[in-house]
Every structure is written in structure tokens, then in C-alpha cells.
């Protein structure tokens, strides 16, 4: 390979040439070794990258075939579906993490979209509902007026049917309103608990199977004629009890009775609704318990056909501070639902029972009217005594004189006197008289 120079053929040169030759050889050898090592390293690296690529592909395949379908199912209401995690085999460069972040991102986007759609749906439904409710209320009012106007039993029978259907419709509409987060409906003045319970009874299909017990706990210091529900709780309580009654009549034989009672409870009263049915199926009981504890019910929980009872009860209970349970067995064999009504939602109303006594007797004997009750300003449990709905109590004529007025002005004068004596708070009329 090296050639002897023909011009300088010295022995030192020859030795130097040998050194150079061996150095070059060693360099070349080193180069060869280094190259071989590099090649080996690169081969390893390529193998490593190929393995990672395989992992990555497997991860993507897992994402496509397993995780995303599971995620989709769970986001579409399959709450029991478990979304599997990443495979996570030999991953150093965070590919699995970025995929995990991607899944999280998808979840978030879907959640936000759903929330947006849900809100928009609620707004639309509330708008639709308001229109329907307005018409339904108008119709119901018209039927009420007709019942007053037509004095004919056959017409009344027909009007009963329409009225009954209207009451049920009104209940359903108010239930939907609660679900959509809209206003529950008309505000009523403080009302007797007994009337609230019977009002609830009016609003279900099988109202004739329901018996509302006339007994109220004495422990509150007032009888059934006085125990009232405060203004803001009247409609919610009517709706809660009506939905429970609807459920009770639905889940018991068509001939079986449903009982509504009021029991004393600590710091309130418990309204019980008991049926003699077969009880709720376990699945239904779980659903009820879940819905009763919800403070917000997604629209897709309503189902088709819509079953809103427990969802409505749960929402109202949370909103108004009632406590409702349906898990205790009834002594009649079916379900026993209990609605706890706290003292804050109760009030004492003036006894209606005393009205006729007041009106038929001269003013001086009004004190006798309280004989039936304990007649104090507050009850034994400290309930405030409020002036409730005493309809027309002011401008009421004394009825006793009417039959006696058989022909003379004397009777009329007595009647007039009684009326004046007996209506100290006649409002505007009296005021005008006093000024004149």
C-alpha cells in the first residue's frame, strides 16, 4: 500500500513510515469499532422506537376500540359503565399521559356541550310549559265558574269529569315546572293542613280510594281545625303529597284504600301516606331513593313515558326543607311514605269551627266561640297564632234572624242591629260610615 520514495531511500524514513502505517491502521481500526458501536446503538434505538410505536399504536387502538366507546356510553347516562384506563406498557415519553389528557379534554367538551344543551332545553321547555299552563289555568277557572253558574245535577256530573281532569293536568304541569326549575305556580294564603291534604287528594286519578284521617296531633296545641301550613309551603306540600298519593294508588290494587294521616314528630309533624299494595320493586325503590336525594335532576332522567313523581318530590323537599322517605314498610303491607313538615312551615290558623257561633250569636257571646279550642295566642309548642284565611268573616250577616223575619220590619231591624254589632271590622263600609 505505501510506496518507497525513489528520491529518499533512508532507513529512518522507513521506520517513520512503519509508525505512520501502524497509527493509520490503529485509527482505522478505531474507526471501524466506533462505527460498529454506533450502528449497534442505532439499531437498538430503532428497535426501541419501533417498540414504542407498537405500544403507541396499541394504546391508540385501545383508545379507539375500548376507551372511547366506554366513555361515550358513560356520558350518555350509563352511570354504571367503567371507563378503562390506558394500557401503559413501557412508556417513557409521555404518550399515554397525552392520550389521558385527550380523553379528559373530550370528557370536558362533552360535559360543557351537554350543560349548554340542557340549559337551552330547559329554557325552551319552560317557555312551552308557560303557554300550556296559562291555557290550562284558564280552562280550569272556566270550569269552576260553570259549576257555580249551572244549577243542574247532570251538568254538574259532566263538569266534575272535566274539573277532575283539569286538576290532574294542573298537577302534572306543576310537576314539570319544578323539574325545569320554573315557578311552581299560584301562591296561596296560609291553609289548613287538612285542606292541603284534601287538595292533594283532589289532584290524583283515584281520589276516591284515598282516606284522609281527620285526626291531627294534639301535641302541637291545636286541632285539625287550626293546624295550618304557611303560605310559601302550601303548593309545594300539596304537590309532594299528591305525587305520593299518585304513586300509592298506582302501586296498590285498584280496590285497595290509601290512608293519609298526620302524626306528631319532633319539631314538626309527619304526614304519612300508606297503601296496601305489594310494595315497590327493589329496582324502583333504589330509583326512588336516588331521585329523592337529588337536588337537581337531569332532563334525561325523566324517561319516556315521563315518570317524574319522585324527582319532583326530591326537588321540592330540598327546596322547601321537607324530608321525605319511602323506605319504611306500611302496616297495611304496602309502602309507607313519610313527609316530615318542620314547625317553620306550620302555623296556627283561627278556627273556622268557631265562625258560625260568632255569627249566629250576639257580639257579647263571642267568648264562647273559643270553647272548643284552648283559645290562647300561641300554641303549647310555641307556634305563632296567625290570622289565616277567614273568608268573608267581616261582612257576614247574622243568619239567625233571617227565618224570623216572617213579616215585620222588627225582625229586619233586629237583623240589621245584629249585623252591625257583629261585624266590627267591616272595612271600607264602616270607615265611610264613621267619617260621614
Amino acid at each position: 500500500m505505501t510506496q518507497q520514495h525513489p528520491m529518499f531511500p533512508s532507513p529512518q524514513r522507513a521506520a517513520r513510515g512503519a509508525v505512520v502505517r501502524s497509527a493509520v491502521g490503529a485509527g482505522l481500526a478505531a474507526l471501524v469499532v466506533t462505527g460498529a458501536v454506533t450502528v449497534l446503538r442505532q439499531r437498538n434505538r430503532i428497535a426501541e422506537l419501533l417498540r414504542q410505536l407498537d405500544n403507541h399504536e396499541a394504546e391508540l387502538e385501545h383508545l379507539r376500540t375500548k376507551r372511547l366507546p366506554a366513555l361515550a356510553e358513560s356520558l350518555n347516562g350509563g352511570t354504571h359503565v367503567r371507563v378503562p384506563g390506558p394500557l401503559g406498557g413501557g412508556d417513557e415519553n409521555g404518550a399515554a399521559e397525552s392520550l389521558e389528557a385527550l380523553v379528559g379534554g373530550i370528557e370536558e367538551v362533552v360535559r360543557l356541550t351537554r350543560e349548554h344543551v340542557e340549559q337551552a332545553s330547559r329554557r325552551t321547555l319552560t317557555g312551552v310549559l308557560d303557554t300550556v299552563r296559562g291555557l290550562a289555568a284558564e280552562q280550569h277557572m272556566a270550569v269552576s265558574e260553570m259549576q257555580h253558574r249551572h244549577d243542574d245535577a247532570d251538568v254538574l256530573a259532566d263538569l266534575y269529569t272535566i274539573d277532575h281532569a283539569g286538576s290532574q293536568l294542573s298537577r302534572r304541569l306543576r310537576g314539570f315546572a319544578v323539574l325545569f326549575g320554573a315557578w311552581i305556580g299560584q301562591q296561596r294564603s296560609a291553609t289548613l293542613l287538612q285542606e292541603v291534604l284534601r287538595g292533594a287528594q283532589s289532584q290524583i286519578r283515584d281520589y276516591q280510594r284515598v282516606t284522609v284521617s281527620p285526626h291531627c296531633p294534639r301535641s302541637l296545641g291545636c286541632g285539625p281545625e287550626e293546624l295550618g301550613v304557611v303560605t310559601r309551603a302550601v303548593e309545594p306540600l300539596v304537590l309532594v303529597v299528591a305525587e305520593l298519593l299518585d304513586n300509592a294508588t298506582r302501586y296498590s290494587p285498584p280496590y285497595a284504600q290509601v290512608w293519609v294521616g298526620v302524626q306528631p314528630a319532633h319539631n314538626g309533624v309527619a304526614v304519612t301516606v300508606e297503601d296496601a299494595g305489594v310494595g315497590m320493586p327493589l329496582e324502583e325503590q333504589r330509583r326512588a331513593a336516588r331521585l329523592l336525594s337529588n337536588e337537581r335532576v337531569p332532563l334525561d332522567e325523566i324517561g319516556d313515558p315521563p315518570r317524574v313523581g319522585f324527582a319532583v318530590i326530591g326537588l321540592l323537599a330540598a327546596r322547601y326543607g321537607l324530608r321525605v322517605s319511602v323506605d319504611s314498610p306500611s302496616s297495611y303491607g304496602g309502602v309507607r311514605a313519610v313527609v316530615f313538615v318542620p314547625n317553620e312551615l306550620l302555623t296556627r290558623l283561627d278556627s273556622e269551627e268557631s265562625e258560625p257561633e260568632e255569627t249566629r250569636q250576639p257580639a257579647s257571646t263571642v267568648t264562647a266561640s273559643g270553647a272548643g279550642s284552648n283559645g290562647t295566642e300561641t300554641t303549647s309548642s310555641g307556634l305563632p297564632k296567625r290570622g289565616g284565611r277567614k273568608r268573608n268573616a267581616a261582612a257576614r250577616p247574622a243568619p239567625a234572624a233571617a227565618p224570623d223575619s216572617s213579616g215585620s220590619a222588627v225582625g229586619l231591624a233586629a237583623w240589621q242591629q245584629a249585623t252591625e254589632a257583629n261585624s266590627p271590622g267591616r272595612g271600607n263600609d264602616d270607615g265611610e260610615d264613621g267619617e260621614a
Binding site: 277557572m141 251538568v155 254538574l156 299560584q186 269551627e353 239567625a400 240589621q416 249585623t419
Partner: protein, 119 residues
């Protein structure tokens, strides 16, 4: 009887519930002017709230069906069913059907004058 006035809101307890779905009174001859009064010594135990109220209202003297209806703020036809129930159970008695003798003109005039004097 006061003129029918528009109720400001729906009654919570519906008429069909009060009469248990019955629209036809068990006593057919009740007019709105029929006078009834509570039977002596009658008890209102075991009655629904409206029936009990009617017995109480009529225990102080006779009232016409129309007056009872106005007090209860119930339709006359519904009141008739309640009153007929109570007549059946002998808790109420018919005092006069209110149809036998129409009041003479003189009496009506006196009533009218009396009413005017009230204003």
C-alpha cells in the same frame, strides 16, 4: 243572596272531592230557597269538614240552601248534595221548601227599604 262574584283563585279542595264524585242529591225536591235547620241534639262527629260546617251553620237557625252555598263558597248544586246527605242522616230538617207561599209585595217592599237603610 249576594250576586255571584268571581273567585280570585281556584279552590284547593275541589267540589267533586267534597261530594265523593256524586252530582245528584239523594233528595230530589231541594230548591235553592228550601230552608233547613240542624236537627236538635245532632252531632257533627264523623262528618267531612264541609258537612260539619253545614250542620254548624244550621244549628243556630234555619238557612236556605242558597245561603249555605254562599257561606261555603260552593256551587248551589254541590251544596244540594251535601244538604241532601245530611237530611238523609237526619242531621238536618227541612223547615220549609220555600215554594208554598211567595212573599207578598208589601213584605218585599219592606225588605227592600230595610236593605236601602243599611247602606
Amino acid at each position: 243572596m249576594s250576586p255571584p262574584r268571581r273567585r280570585d283563585r281556584e279552590a284547593l279542595v275541589r267540589p267533586y272531592l267534597i261530594t265523593g264524585g256524586r252530582a245528584h242529591p239523594t233528595v230530589g225536591s231541594l230548591g235553592i230557597t228550601t230552608l233547613v235547620r240542624a236537627a236538635p241534639e245532632t252531632e257533627s262527629l264523623g262528618l267531612g269538614p264541609e258537612h260539619r260546617r253545614v250542620v254548624r251553620l244550621c244549628s243556630g237557625g234555619a238557612l236556605s240552601v242558597a245561603e249555605i252555598a254562599a257561606r261555603l263558597e260552593l256551587p248551589a248544586s254541590v251544596t244540594r248534595v251535601i244538604v241532601a246527605d245530611l237530611l238523609d242522616e237526619n242531621r238536618l230538617q227541612v223547615l220549609s221548601s220555600g215554594r208554598e207561599q211567595a212573599p207578598d209585595r208589601e213584605l218585599l217592599q219592606e225588605v227592600l227599604d230595610g236593605l236601602r237603610a243599611l247602606r
